[in-house]
């Protein structure tokens, strides 16, 4: 009988922590699902214009991003205030687009290459000159599927 009578008087039993892993995993999964990872650190101002006739960008197809906008404050002294192109993590010139597209393509499986879409994330304050140059380069690289990535809303919001 002594075996069952191990009563320690007045001592609280330890808190059961068996479910702690569950809670932690739950949080982990939640954040894994809900967060979108920012692939690139932006070095430029990037406020997208809005449009209401938008199509969703299909994540099943590969997407490459080209950012255009004027350098953000930290970089303004070095790179000026004219709109610049950002590829991956760094500023780039127009003639770096073709190698960039080729590099993006080489990372893809062969059957996906024709479906590569280039998403142009252009700041609404930039002007069409640089966008036109980028489009011309994309034509040279034969990356013809493009998407002017925008927010959703009425176009009258673009005026200011």
């Amino acid at each position: 009988m002594a075996k069952f009578n191990k009563k320690k008087d007045g001592e609280l039993p330890p808190v059961n922590t068996a479910a702690l892993p569950d809670i932690v995993f739950m949080l982990l999964f939640f954040f894994m699902v809900a967060t979108v990872m920012r692939e690139n650190t932006l070095k430029i101002a990037n406020t997208l214009p809005v449009a209401n006739q938008v199509e969703k960008l299909d994540k099943k197809n590969p997407i490459s991003y080209i950012y255009i906008g004027k350098p953000s404050e930290n970089y303004a002294s070095k790179f000026g205030t004219e709109a610049r192109i950002q590829l991956n993590d760094d500023f780039a010139d127009v003639d770096e687009i073709v190698p960039f597209i080729n590099q993006e393509r080489s990372a893809l499986r062969e059957e996906l290459i024709p479906y590569l879409t280039v998403s142009l994330k252009v700041d609404k304050k930039s002007n069409m000159g640089i966008v036109g140059d980028v489009k011309q380069e994309l034509r040279k690289a034969n990356a013809l599927k493009i998407n002017y990535t925008t927010g959703t809303g009425d176009v009258s919001a673009n005026e200011n």
Binding site: G10, M26, V54, E55, L57, V122
Partner: protein, 202 residues
Amino acid sequence: MAKRAAPEVNAGSMADIAFLLLIFFLVTTTIPKDSGISRKLPPIDPNDQKPPIIKEKNIFAVSLNGKDQLLVEDELMEVKDLRAAAVEFLDNNGDGTCSFCKGKKDPTSSDNPDKAVISLKNERETSYAKYISVQNELVAAYNDLRNRRALEIGSQKGFPNMNFIEMQAKYDDVRWSGNKTKLKEVIDQIQKEIPQKLSEVQ
């Protein structure tokens, strides 16, 4: 009497609660998706082909100058009026071959939606915001016409009260249980009848 130890809290079902929450969040959260206006660039033609000759009346010239002013068929216009003007041009049906058009049949405007071309020209100084606004309105004009057509033929083909945008959304929706091959035929037919002919001048 000796003080009793507090009974241990039964935590066996904690994991169940955790999973319940996990599944709830899994089901309810949506990952934000990028969206925008999709365009296809013209390929660079190596052997300098001559562009096809298009009649002047079949071209709807839209141009944006460096001061963000919109010029449509040589007249100044506000962006908000562009959609209606573009619909009127596309829907004109000058040669009477378009069976579903409701336009004015003006002989000086476009022949039919298949021949009508919208040409968009911009300067280097044009702002991107304005350009997107104009692109958006032109796409909206095509979508308006396609929606109208979809409502007309959709009811005959078994997709009543569904506009073109909804048809496309349904077609891409994996959970939709309708007849996708039939829907695809309707979508293709509308796209063929009202093709998006939007050319950009360099």
